[in-house]
């Protein structure tokens, strides 16, 4: 019997990250990169420190953002791994560990930061 691939775990994370990147990414870029800096539709105080700090102190925002970042990380890790394969660098256990390990590390850090922000209120 052929061994079952564990790819479904990483493909699901990749798919989730990809979908969120497509849905949320352009809006974030539009708001943070364009609308707020030129002051279109947002006041000059829209993204000041207190405002943002307060926003991230809310569990929904803090952890929501951490999960978003985590899925982005896993999306990137999966894509890098498969692009390397196309370029002739084939996925070894070590390469997988580096790619998905970095994504897991980044995700853990994001959750940790969110936890600190939320606990401090």
């Amino acid at each position: 019997m052929k061994p079952r691939s564990h790819e479904p775990i990483f493909w699901s994370l990749f798919g989730g990250g990809g979908m969120l990147a497509a849905l949320v990414g352009p809006i974030l870029v539009l708001i943070i990169g364009l609308l707020v800096p030129i002051g279109l539709g947002f006041g000059p105080e829209a993204m000041n420190y207190e405002q943002m700090r307060g926003l991230l102190g809310h569990p929904m925002m803090g952890f929501g953002l951490a999960i978003l970042i985590a899925l982005f990380f896993f999306h990137a890790a999966h894509r890098i791994l498969h692009t390397l394969h196309d370029l002739g660098v084939h996925a070894s256990e070590r390469l997988k560990l580096i790619c998905y390990g970095s994504a897991a590390g980044g995700s853990a850090l994001a959750v940790l930061v969110a936890l600190v922000l939320v606990l401090r209120g």
Partner: protein, 249 residues
Amino acid sequence: MSQTRTIVIECLRFHPETDEAPYYQSYEVPFTEEMSVLEGLQYIKDHLDGTLTFRWSCRMAICGSCGCMVNDEPVLSCQTFLRDYHPARIRVEPLAHFPILRDLAIDQTDFLAKLESVHPYLIPSTGDDPGDQPRHQTPDQVQDYLGYAQCINCLLCYAACPQYGLNDAFTGPAALALLHRYNADSRDAGKDQRMEVINAEEGVWGCTLVGECSEVCPKHVDPARAINQNKIASTQDYFLRFLKPRGRR
């Protein structure tokens, strides 16, 4: 009246028993407006060089025998026309990613083994014997698999697939599309037997959705869609298998 023009056809030649390496041989072939690349090859064999070896049968994109690379694109030579290349020369090579048997004829053994591995036939459920009666299907049920049933095993998709080129353990587009063709058929109950092929690293997970297979398919089978639908099926099977009764995991 069709006007006769001349085109240079450059063929890859290789006779494994006598040649050390493949080489190219050029032929000047007179052609008319309606002549296909296959007819150009037949002209060479009949009038210029009887030793040129290539496969063909139906001449009308039904049999899937005459697949080859024309200017690095996998095509059926019977539905590719010399007029579209003239006045440039064309280069005809055997399908990429397969061992060469001789000249343009490739060795299909690897594909045939993979085709067999997907159980490409209806597996009725036990106790479901209609006797002499036909099995009925609604038009919707037919539509579920009809597109995938158009495959003629021409192997253009394997020649186009960069993943098969990198690793020929990959089950590949046509075999996985045919696997899906039977899974999607309401008369079939063989899904469980085919799940092992889908779930393997060399199954649907060998695909990275490049999509070239669907681009080159002369019958519009869309193997890329079939494979990616089965990535979802495999993911469901991966996570939901723990909910199934023991012995069916």
